[in-house]
């Protein structure tokens, strides 16, 4: 035991002498970890945005066969039947359209969702709060913009007037909504939006809050069995989880794919570093063996060096990813809803741990073979080198 400690310490002390090759191993591992954590934090951030701001008692009703709010639709009388369901404590029939706004970062047009809401809409979204200006007044061409939208798209400042075709809209407020996807949207009153978009008395979806989250099945059965309706009833959380699935799966697959390939590349780098380290010190190791140090002590010392280099790389990589990406806000087109979603990268502790575990695996695998070679080196010929 004492042997192991002595030789390992001595080993580690000699690293500065081999800084060049050691650094390469560290950089390789740091790169792997940084990339893995960064890509996965993008997927996590996107999921977070679509899932936060939802609450267990919230439900969304769409036309059956529709894939998102954009292609869903009801006539006014159908929306009224849904709104009158006895299980609902709050209800908001809403109109969902897309308008073109300029993305600040690229100066290109982007599909920004615009929502005409009912009176209960703000109460249904937990944590809805106006953070600048005021709420729109029903019946007037006024809108409030989500915090994320105001951040990413041009022209969404309180006091500004937007032109959509021949329509003019005053931006009167900025809101937040618990970090959820509503923050990527523009809100106005549903009747105003119906008028502006010649939607008659039709709605896209109905949002509601159940008086008791446990009555979901009862609510769903009541609506789906109503012969006047053909609807799809979902819990808000499930609907948004499904909306985020395509993009977050894509990003995760790409992320893990890159990380695995890159981990292999870094592994070869680590193997080279450790083999070089061992062969540089062949004589030293042989001397130690001749002095009576056991092969186990040699193996442990080499492995310790490899793991330590990998750990250093892992910490640097994870730190870099956290510094550069945590909270980094972007917007993209969500394939599922065909409209822009603004979200922030989320570098969670879980992801950091995942990154460091990968670093240690690279160190373990990259150190093992060189360590065994070092321990099995024939003493006599190594001394003669």
């Amino acid at each position: 035991m004492e042997q192991i400690l002595v030789i390992t310490l001595q080993n580690l002390k000699s690293i500065p002498g081999r800084l060049g090759t050691s650094l390469v191993a560290v950089v390789g591992v740091a790169g792997v970890v940084a990339v893995l954590v960064a890509v996965l934090s993008m997927a996590r951030g996107f999921e977070n945005t679509l899932e936060s701001g939802t609450s267990p008692g919230n439900v969304i009703v769409l036309r059956s066969g529709s894939s998102s709010e954009l292609d869903s639709g009801f006539q006014g009388d159908q929306a009224r039947i849904i709104a009158q369901a006895e299980q609902l404590a709050l209800v908001s029939p809403e109109v969902y359209v897309i308008v073109d706004l300029e993305k600040k970062s690229s100066q290109t047009q982007a599909n920004v969702p615009m929502r005409g809401v009912g009176a209960d809409a703000a109460a249904i979204r937990s944590d809805f709060r106006i953070i600048d200006g005021r709420m729109f007044e029903p019946g007037r061409r006024e809108l409030v913009a989500g915090r994320g939208a105001a951040d990413q798209f041009a022209g969404l400042a309180v006091g500004n007037t937007l032109e959509f075709g021949t329509e003019r809209w005053d931006v009167v407020g900025i809101f937040e909504s618990g970090g959820g996807s509503a923050e990527s949207e523009l809100w106005t009153d549903s009747a105003t939006l119906q008028g502006a978009y010649r939607r008659g008395n039709s709605f896209s979806v109905v949002y509601g809050r159940l008086d008791d989250p446990g009555r979901f099945t009862e609510f769903k059965d009541a609506l789906t069995s109503d012969p006047q309706l053909s609807v799809r009833v979902e819990r808000e959380s499930e609907y948004f989880a499904e909306q985020s699935r395509a993009l977050s799966t894509f990003v995760s697959v790409v992320g893990y794919g890159i990380a695995v390939l890159m981990a292999l590349g870094a592994l070869f780098g680590a193997l080279n570093t450790m083999y070089t380290a061992v062969s540089d010190r062949a004589r030293e190791i042989a001397t130690l063996r001749a002095l009576g140090f056991t092969p186990v002590a040699i193996v442990v010392s080499v492995m310790a060096e490899a793991m330590l280099l990998a750990l250093a790389g892992g910490l640097i990589g994870a730190g870099l990813a956290w510094l550069l990406f945590n909270g980094f806000t972007v917007s993209t087109l969500n394939f599922s809803s065909f409209s822009q979603v603004v979200f922030a990268f989320a570098v969670t502790p879980g992801l950091l741990v995942q990154g460091i575990v990968i670093a240690l695996i690279i160190g373990l695998v990259g150190g093992l073979a060189p360590a065994i070679r070092a321990a099995r080196m024939p003493i006599v010929s190594a001394l003669r080198e």
Binding site: G31, V39, S67, V99, F164, G165, L261, F268
Partner: protein
């Protein structure tokens, strides 16, 4: 020269493991490079497919807003316009509502005026024109769903019900077209607008957007300006851009994600190059003494330099070629698996060429410093250092 090659080979074979690991990390770097190229191409597929002489006109507020069909004839009558047709987003899906594809009601007679690159057998074309419920499908899409010409298929619209309230539309696969070879354009289908317009429950005589083929691509800006001016101050104002501009701005909607993935891949690539480059340089550095011996026995500076460079070039190019090949296979495999969600994923010759050039550059850069040192090596000094 043969002798030099022999030396290079022997040198590389001296530490087989190291050479192997270096080679493998170069291979992996280039696999990633090939993936990067494929991904980049998928994000910009629309731009690549766009014709320079085609314009897209849509509702100024958003593409989800419809326009009156009368606009098509008005655009077609304008100066500089060769032909114009229209499309509408049908929101079609075959069995799974989550897998919507591009199915467009259009004027099929005119399709080949606007898109001359779509080719189909003449008898199928004739049959398509005679069949009201006929559907024109891209080869890639037909393969994906296992459709053959003559099949009767029900396709659902996520937007338009028929007059009877049903969202299921019956079609006959009347013709199958092949496109430019980039699968993105073959992942589409086209139906007769007349069938669509007469059978749908609402939105009669409205269309999604207009595609115009103009006579002179040089005049694209003039013509698109004239189109928008034509409809200014009407209830439906328009926004016209070149097809390439339209595709580019659509690609820009994914914007950040595509860019971020590419940036990350770029970082990965350069990290791996750093790793392999350092090892290659180190392999030469270790042999300073031997190089001195070679020079002592009469090898010229140029020859020693060439030898060192040849060694790193060999590793870089062999690794690069293997990596690009594996990466290319991977992209091709992924392209057929993901055709539905991600059409246009493909290996382009441009990516291959760039990859090869990068491999050569890698070999030169990693070999340059050691080669320079080898050439300048002072024999006495180096022998003494030994």
């Amino acid at each position: 020269m043969g002798g030099m090659f022999h030396l290079v080979r022997k040198n590389l074979g001296r530490k087989k493991l190291r050479t192997l690991f270096t080679l493998l990390s170069v291979v992996i770097a280039f696999i990633l490079f090939a993936l990067l190229g494929g991904l980049n191409r998928a994000f910009t597929a629309g731009v690549e497919l766009a014709g320079a002489d085609r314009l897209v006109t849509m509702h100024k507020v958003s593409f989800i807003q419809l326009m009156p069909i009368s606009y098509v004839a008005r655009v077609e009558g304008m100066d500089g316009v060769r032909a114009a047709t229209h499309y509408t987003w049908f929101g079609g899906y075959f069995q799974d509502p989550k897998q919507q594809f591009g199915l467009f009601p259009t004027n099929l007679e005119k399709l080949s005026d606007i898109y001359p690159e779509y080719e189909m057998p003449p008898d199928q074309r004739e049959h398509l024109m005679e069949t009201r419920t006929g559907l024109l499908v891209g080869r890639a899409m037909a393969d994906l769903y296992g459709w053959e010409a003559g099949d009767q298929v029900p396709i659902f619209s996520s937007i338009y019900p028929k007059r009877d309230g049903s969202y299921a539309w019956e079609f006959e696969i009347a013709a199958i077209f092949t496109g430019t070879g980039n699968t993105a354009d073959e992942m589409q289908a086209f139906m007769h607008y007349d069938y669509f317009n007469e059978a749908r429950q609402f939105g009669q005589d409205m269309i999604g957007w207009i595609v115009t083929r103009i006579e002179d691509p040089e005049l694209a800006d003039t013509v698109s300006g004239a189109i928008d001016a034509r409809f200014a101050n009407s209830p439906t104002e328009t926004k016209t851009s070149t097809e390439a501009g339209f595709a580019a701005s659509f690609a820009a909607q994914f914007g950040n994600i595509g860019l971020i993935v590419q940036m990350i891949l770029g970082c990965v690539f350069f990290t791996l190059l750093l790793i392999s480059g350092n090892t290659m340089a180190q392999a030469v550095r270790e042999r300073t003494g031997e190089l001195a011996v070679l020079k002592t026995i009469g090898f010229s500076d140029a020859r020693v330099t060439g030898m060192v460079l040849a060694e790193s070039l060999l590793v870089a190019v062999v690794g690069g070629v293997i990596g690009l090949l594996i990466g290319g296979l991977f992209v091709t495999g992924a392209a057929s698996a993901l055709a539905q969600f991600f059409p246009g994923l493909a290996m382009s010759s441009g990516t291959l060429l760039w990859g090869l050039m990068l491999a050569v550059a890698l070999g030169l850069v990693t070999g340059a410093w050691p080669a320079w040192r080898a050439a300048r090596l002072d024999v006495i000094d180096a022998m003494g250092r030994r």
